[in-house]
Symmetry: C2
């Protein structure tokens, strides 16, 4: 089954908006193991839309259309669909009622212009939109089998058109609740697909691939890899003849992968490292403070992005200048003079100093040269120290990063947060095995 995704709207062609609906629709089709063969975008133009519809019908079996279902003059998707395939438009009374009800809920009367949204091509099925005004449409076409099609019987091939709203929230809901089940029920099911995402930090994509090369996964399970700096994620995809079997294969795969990767896996799906680490701190009743130099406040910002972070995060000191490191963190002037602000000794003193001042169980500190300037022969750009202080002592590591300023800072913050997680799990405070990261201690 080959699919095609069409999006309609002038604003998409001007390049001012990134069209993420296409990606979403293709990703969702993949859950039914259906590949998208073409993405096409055209303007709100009658002739262009008709041409795009005709081409799609000639070469694809499932056509997903997004956009142009609104009430204004520009919104002509449904009209053009009917015209292109020789259908009349007919009024769908239940949709008209639903539209009136939608406006009534907000205490408003429906404008005449909205009535248009209750008209559909004859023979089409209406897809309800419980969270917006524009219902969707499914139209099943029976076409003469063209030369490029080999799927038809008796010279007839079927093409399914689905029209959905362009508003992402409405599109997502309609795709998942109404479109995917209709496609699934119509295709000859050969396989069910289930996928998961295991999030790892601290290992490069190729090392991850290497570590998993000989892992014994159930038959029909494939691994994909995704880089999302500074993380790398593993995506097991399980295919089976039934949904239950695919679920079971996926669960087994995740188990096997977690066993192999151990503490490198910090979470699944959409979970962030700071959420997972924050949850651990909440569970253990542990508090944290931070002393930041090169990260400039980023660790605090990342930690407090999670609602409820005040349960464990007491605060921090951003000591960008040396005199602040001395005055506010109690780093001895002598030490700063002897070792310099970017040194193992100062990183340790910062972590210990901030821990005492905030009275927290744990503290982390960063000091380094993020770049692009500020380096020397002895202390080059990318030299960074990370420290973690606890009641029973502190640990520091030196590392040499070779990214740009933004990513050097982002990676340093992530290492510091990962150390808190590792400390709470009793795991060693490893430095990441990533390309462009040299581990010096």
């Amino acid at each position: 089954m080959k699919a095609e995704v069409l999006t309609i709207g002038d604003e998409l062609l001007r390049g001012e908006i990134t069209d993420s609906n296409k990606s979403f629709l293709s990703q969702r089709l993949l859950t039914l193991d259906i590949e998208t063969r073409f993405h096409v975008t055209c303007a709100d133009d009658r002739a262009d839309i008709a041409e795009v519809f005709r081409r799609a019908a000639a070469r694809s079996e499932v056509v997903l259309v997004s956009g142009g279902l609104g009430p204004t003059r520009d919104d002509i998707t449904i009209e053009v669909l009917a015209e292109t395939f020789g259908r009349k438009l007919v009024l769908h009374e239940p949709s008209l009622e639903a539209l009136r009800g939608f406006f009534a809920r907000f205490g408003r009367e429906m404008a005449a212009i909205n009535e248009k949204q209750a008209w559909f091509p004859e023979g089409a099925e209406v897809l309800e939109n419980p969270i917006g005004t524009a219902p969707g449409t499914m139209l099943e076409l029976q076409l003469a089998a063209g030369e490029r099609s080999s799927s038809g019987r008796d010279g007839v091939r079927k093409v399914l058109f689905f029209c959905m709203p362009g508003v992402p929230r409405e599109l997502y809901k309609m795709m998942d609740e109404q479109v995917l089940p209709r496609i699934a029920s119509r295709r000859r099911v050969t396989s069910w697909v289930r996928a998961s995402l295991l999030r790892t930090f601290g290992i490069g994509e190729s090392s991850l691939d290497e570590m998993l090369r000989d892992v014994a996964l159930p038959e029909g399970v494939e691994l994909g890899f995704r880089t999302q700096f500074p993380d790398n994620h593993v995506r097991p995809v399980a295919r089976a003849a039934s949904a239950a079997e695919a679920d079971a294969k996926l669960a087994r795969s995740c188990e096997v992968l977690r066993e192999r990767l151990g503490v490198l896996v910090y979470g699944t799906g959409e979970e962030t490292l700071e959420e997972v680490t924050g949850r651990l701190m909440t569970l253990r009743g542990v508090t944290l403070s931070v002393a930041e130099s090169c990260t400039g406040g980023m660790i605090g910002e990342v930690l407090t992005a999670t609602p409820g972070s005040s349960a464990y995060f007491k605060g921090g000191i951003v000591a960008y200048w040396n005199d602040a490191k001395a005055a506010l963190l109690g780093v001895p002037d002598e030490m700063l003079k002897q070792h310099g602000a970017v040194s193992e000794a100062v990183a340790r003193a910062m972590a210990e100093g901030v821990r005492v001042r905030f009275g927290t169980d744990l503290a982390i500190a960063t000091t380094g040269i993020a770049g692009p300037t500020g380096g020397s022969a002895e202390k080059p750009v990318g030299l960074v120290y990370v420290a973690l202080a606890a009641a029973n002592g502190s640990q520091v590591r030196e590392l040499q990063l070779a990214f740009d300023r933004e990513r050097n800072r982002r990676l340093t913050a992530q290492i510091a947060i990962d150390w808190v997680r590792r400390h709470l799990l009793g795991a060693p405070l490893d430095l990441p095995r990533l390309g462009r990261v040299e581990r010096k201690s």
Copy 2:
């Protein structure tokens, strides 16, 4: 002149990558006043690419293709282009030399597989790629005028195909330096377009529109608006019969707009508020420290994202818990008890406290309830105080925000940084006139 943009690659269709090349190419075409009529993406498949090429040639006059120029088996753009339009592939010696030179610069020998990148359709023009291995191609086709085309003479119409690498850095350079000039020299020039972007903070899109409704701009200048939370930008676009005239109209428009908007305009083009504010501090030799509660380190992070920020930013204290506000910023316990941490008095004490502790000229402070929980009837979610302290006194404002946690924090940080800019320019410390922002003081 109608254009079409084609991108090629399996990974684009799977929805795992957001295809930003299309947007870029369409935006650049608009500088020549050329509208894109279709965006099409297809897989690395010979038949699909050929079909897409044929359709594009039949309906568009300029076709921009990105991707599939690499050395691997998947990279077949050039081969299919030649096949589709009946051209032989011929070896381009200078490109082969350039390829060998490219590898030699990195001390490596060119692999045999790369030779492929020096073959082009007969009659095509080669576009150099000084920063990568894949040269581009321009192929000018002379086709019989089809029924949809009205632009041809004597039954012949010309179509320009440009193939460019998919690597964004290489694509951007090739588009600007080689493709746009070639298109410009071939089309019948009816107008030159010049655009600029004036960045504003502190005013909503509709208020901005309102403020500019009766502004007297030169003829042929149109205004566009772009929202980039929490900023809103104005985009004057000037059209004229010559480049010089368009430049002059644009310059005059920017002058008129700046006059009308005053201090609301903080910069142009890609400049950020923190860069502009940092430059002002550097020029005046002014230093800054911050005391953050609800922003949790975000202001420090944003300020230190700019290289060279250590010239003015000494550091900050993130006082997330109340005892930190007392112990590290000297906010009196009594005041915290009487007014609560989220109060005008505490915001002021935080700014004044951090200014003294860091010994800076200026200091800013934030305290508030970012949400989604933590509010009360008296102090609801979104209540925020911002304070600025200077040698000659301090100022505080109360405001009520109605965004989500992330945007409440982002907006608060932006207000604080904008206040530093306004203070240095001698402008009043306004609160933003944005939707969902209530100004209480």
